[in-house]
Amino acid sequence: MTRPIRSSVQITLASWKALFLREAVTRLAAGRAAWAWLLVEPLGYLIFIMTLFGFVYHKKVGGVDGAMFVVTGLLGFYFARNTFLRSMEAIHANGALFTYRQVKPIDTVLVRAALEGFLTLLSAILILAGASLFHYDVLPDDPLLVMATVFGLWLCGLGLGLILSAATKLVAELGKVVNILIIPLYFVSGVMIPASTIPQPYRDYLLFNPFLHGLEVLRGAYFSPFHAVPEASLGYVYGFALVAVFLGLSLHLRFSRQLVAE
């Protein structure tokens, strides 16, 4: 039986599907109750932050319930952070698969970013549903803008993932630097504080960070009483994301040979 030679698009789609299922299985089924960590990790952070700041916030932050303020910040941040942290490792983790020429490094990064976005969405829905059982008001006031912002944050994560996956493969030490920088990133992205509480001139500096823009816009859309700083812009988030995605794709194209090498 002779089969027709498949087109490049067919091959790419087939390997995306195969990689997605494979990654999902490894992530959810390999190891002891691997799926449980999807919820345990964000919930752990939530409880930690809320106990830590519970005394400071006195129920309301920027006109918003303190708990919901932290929940939205953390989940929004996760859409970007989880995506780029996981996709950064994609090439390294899937090195054995480049034996099959159908699988390119870029495929593993894109698939991981997609899976991570999907899983973060899943855990966000579960956490919000759980919070609603405790009579929190979990429905966003401007759902469309919330979706657009979350997508923008994910896109930033994808762009950084593309850049960092190629960069850490070429310069292995970069991975360690990123892991050090991830902790301060929590604080300067406004997960726990509204940007309006950051004094000038530091606020202007921190507003180079697209995540801070994203979380401000996200909260402004989620809670109508919340006043985002006027500088916060969704356009900046998407601008950053597009530049990062473009830069990441060109790195993958330019160094395609080095990325496959053992």
Partner: protein, 221 residues
């Protein structure tokens, strides 16, 4: 049909560009021709297989593949330890576009590998013989026009080696084969033509015996 056109290959080292591993390779492998690759260790046999297999790209020149080509079998890679044999096999079926007849392929692989209930255990629990059985079974499960084999027939115990050789012979009869082996017997058994790699150059011989003779002369055996 595989056309290798003026292919050069060198690797980057920490001190810049390394020496040329392969220089100015030109040859065409016609359909259904079985070719054996000979050369001393480090002559670039595996490198050439990787280039033909599309895993690596030439530094200069290009390779055209007008056929369905297997991945370099017996390579050691291509299996993920934390997944079961079945999950790994499913992955390979999917990237090769065998979604519809996946169950048939899986049955074939499970049957051929003959590793019993280990097929549903994580690959990291396998012995090296079981790994090669699974890898060999996976590569036999698809209909390629050309199979690339890197010392593959050496895998497994005697029973499996015989089974593998029989399957390999069947494949060699209806498809093309590009193989690296240090066993003259294996090369004679499966190949008609030969390529001798020496000092970065490739010499094509229509008869594998001539390639072997040149190779043996060069190493003084």
């Amino acid at each position: 049909m595989i056309i290798v056109d003026d292919v050069h290959k060198r690797y980057m080292t920490s001190h810049g560009a390394g020496r040329w591993v392969l220089r100015s390779l030109n040859f065409t492998i016609a359909p259904k021709v079985n070719v054996g690759l000979v050369g001393r260790n480090g002559a670039g046999k595996s490198t050439l297989l990787r280039l033909i297999g599309g895993i690596d790209t030439p530094t200069k020149g290009h390779i055209e593949r007008h056929c369905r080509l297997s991945w370099p079998m017996g390579y050691g890679g291509g299996l993920q330890g934390s997944l079961t044999g079945r999950q790994n096999a499913k992955f390979v079926c999917r990237i090769h576009g065998h979604d519809e007849d996946m169950q048939d392929r899986l049955d074939y692989i499970a049957d051929f590998a003959g590793i019993g209930h280990y097929f549903d255990q994580p690959v990291k629990t396998y012995s090296s013989g079981m790994r090669s059985r699974l890898q060999f079974a996976m590569s036999m499960a698809f209909d390629f026009d050309v199979y690339i084999s890197d010392e593959v027939t050496a895998a497994g115990d005697i029973a499996f080696t015989n089974k593998a050789a029989a399957a390999f012979k069947r494949v060699a009869d209806h498809a093309g084969l590009i193989m690296v082996s240090h066993s003259e017997e294996t090369l004679r058994q499966f190949c008609q033509a030969g390529i001798w790699l020496h000092d970065g150059s490739a010499y094509w011989f229509d008869d594998i015996e001539d390639a072997l003779a040149n190779y043996k002369e060069s190493i003084g055996a």
